[in-house]
């Protein structure tokens, strides 16, 4: 038994590939906890960031700067009455939120947080991801249909039409990234030569970016950038976020497909939505933003060797500098926390909150110090860069919501079918033609 547990530790494969189901289960539970953690942070962060963008303060009462607000909300939702309308289709009404959460989380099976940090790696990884994430529509349609009420049905119909329309543009953008994985050349304009084969495996896609020394967003600039832009627009529409949040348009449809849901079931929909946001962001990161690779992954600088601090002779001074990034981010957050604790008004009623904020800063600083230790520091790099990119995407989601007004339904359909679809086809063709540049040039020479 112990052998079974420890035998995986020296493996260079994901647990799924190594056939170690116990470690696969551990990875699954860690991902579950991690994504739920991101959802909790988003719950607080979104309200806080939105509030500050609108010159408000946001949650301030529950804990210092409202830090305990997500926990208070969770308790409220847990103790709230769960209403199931008498006319609802009971089994489907029950299944819909479970389905939404299940689909949103299932995508994470193939997300590579590092070269070995994925539950499993399949040779059809990206197809699996696209296929599973499009099943989310079913949950929304089930919720709308089972509620047997006007607003949810309208919301579900709108939602399914919208998700289905943007999926095509999304798929075309993904195909153009897959084409890039097969090219052997190095650098943004490296066209390469000889027969190589592309890959659909998520880990393989990131490794292709490492081999070509370029993130695919900069490949054949601006072709990769346009493909990424198409995907970025489509992924907001897929997750029903502002400015494409028509299924939940409060001013027209009350709450869209989850009007009839309350309490814990409603919170499952929210969990599914936020987990879905993280999931599509991680697809975008894997395909275009280099997955777990740090910025400038092929710049190493002169090699150095510092006893006890840096013992990787194959890596250079730039790697050494970048390896402190996780600790520095945590310490910066800790400093921010301390700074704001010092700025708290000196009022006896706020004493507990001030102490709480100091304690929070202390925890963050502790985590930062742990991340400074060389064994931890070297192992956390891949995961840190992936999570950092996810965090950037999450902030962008909030920013979009604060900035842009909601689209009208006909405008939404027009953007999906008449702008993004032709653009996606065009990007695909241009990628194909540039990638085969040498062959086309040779053929033209033969003709002329």
């Amino acid at each position: 038994m112990l052998d079974y547990v420890t035998s995986y530790l020296h493996s260079s494969l994901t647990p799924g590939q190594a056939g170690n189901w116990l470690w696969a289960l551990v990875y699954i539970l860690v991902i579950f906890a991690g994504v739920s953690g991101i959802v909790i942070v988003m719950n607080w962060g979104e309200r806080k960031a939105l509030a500050h963008m609108q010159v408000r303060l946001g949650p301030m009462r529950v804990g210092p700067h409202g830090l305990m607000q997500p926990i208070a909300d969770a308790i409220k939702l847990l103790t709230k009455e769960d209403i199931m309308p008498s006319e609802a289709d009971k089994p489907i009404f029950w299944l819909a939120p479970v389905w939404v959460v299940m689909i949103a989380f299932s995508v994470f099976i193939v997300v590579p947080f590092g070269p070995t940090h994925a539950v499993t790696d399949m040779n059809i990884g990206i197809l699996f991801m696209l296929g599973v994430s499009s099943l989310g529509v079913l949950g929304i349609v089930m919720a709308g249909w089972a509620s047997n009420s006007h607003f949810p049905l309208m919301g579900a119909l709108r939602s399914s039409a919208q998700m289905v329309s943007y999926e095509i543009a999304m798929g075309l953008a993904v195909v153009s990234a897959i084409v890039m994985t097969g090219l052997g050349g190095i650098g943004p304009y490296g066209i390469g030569s000889g027969a190589g084969s592309g890959t659909l495996s998520m880990i393989g896609i990131v490794q292709a970016q490492a081999q070509q020394h370029v993130w695919f967003i900069f490949k054949f600039f601006p072709v990769g950038l346009v493909a990424f832009f198409i995907f970025a627009v489509a992924m907001i529409a897929e997750t029903n976020r502002a400015p494409f949040d028509l299924p939940e348009a409060e001013s027209e449809l009350v709450a869209g497909f989850h009007t009839e849901y309350s309490g814990l079931r409603w919170s499952l929909f929210m969990l599914g939505e936020y987990a879905g946001m993280v999931a599509v962001s991680s697809i975008a990161i894997t395909l275009w933003l280099g997955g777990w690779l740090r910025p400038f992954p092929s710049t190493h600088g002169p090699a150095i060797n510092i006893p006890f601090l840096w013992e990787h002779p194959e890596q250079g001074v730039v790697d050494f500098a970048f390896s402190f990034a996780p600790a520095l981010v945590m310490l910066a957050l800790a400093f921010f926390s301390f700074f704001n604790a010092m700025r708290m008004p000196k009022h006896p009623l706020l004493k507990i909150q001030t102490i709480g904020l100091y304690a929070f800063g202390l925890v963050l600083a502790g985590v930062g110090l742990i991340l400074l230790a060389p064994p931890v520091r070297d192992r956390i790099q891949d995961i840190f860069w992936f999570v950092f990119k996810i965090a950037c995407f999450m902030y962008l989601y909030i920013w979009y919501r604060a900035t842009w007004p909601r689209y009208r339904f006909d405008q939404l359909m027009k953007v999906g079918w008449k702008v993004l679809l032709p653009l996606g086809l065009g990007v695909l063709l241009v990628t194909g033609i540039i990638g085969l540049g040498p062959e086309i040039a040779a053929w033209l020479k033969g003709v002329v």
């Binding site: 209403i83 299932s106 509620s147 009420s149 399914s160 084969s197 592309g198 194909g432 062959e439």
Partner: protein, 118 residues
């Protein structure tokens, strides 16, 4: 390899246990006193007007049909994208022919007005 796919079932099993378990635990703490007005479909406070599952615009069906056509097209592009270098110029031309046929259809539905949402 087939064993790469086993974690999918593991994952589904974890979710299928964890989420209903949460709902069950919630049942122990939350109040439950239903009444007739509370269980009515929500329609801004008034009694619901006729059946919710009535007729809705045919546009949704058109979008669904177009989706099937174009999504299948995208799926056909994936094998080509993987073997792109190996197939070379021949594969590119084949793909262009395939896309050209679909683009003709796309232009036709555009002109026909199927993409308009009136």
């Amino acid at each position: 390899m087939p064993q790469n796919y086993v974690p999918i079932f593991l994952f589904v099993a974890v979710v299928a246990i964890a989420i209903p378990a949460t709902l069950m635990i919630g049942k122990l703490v939350r109040p439950n006193n239903p009444e007739k007005a509370k269980l009515m479909p929500y329609e801004c406070g008034i009694d619901p007007v006729d059946n919710a599952r009535g007729r809705y615009t045919v546009r949704f069906y058109i979008v669904a049909i177009l989706f099937v056509v174009f999504d299948v097209e995208t799926i056909f592009l994936f094998p080509w994208a993987v073997q792109y270098r190996a197939l070379g110029l021949f594969g590119l031309v084949e793909m262009l022919v395939f896309l050209a046929i679909l683009i003709v259809g796309y232009v036709w539905i555009w002109k026909k007005g199927a993409l308009e949402w009136v």
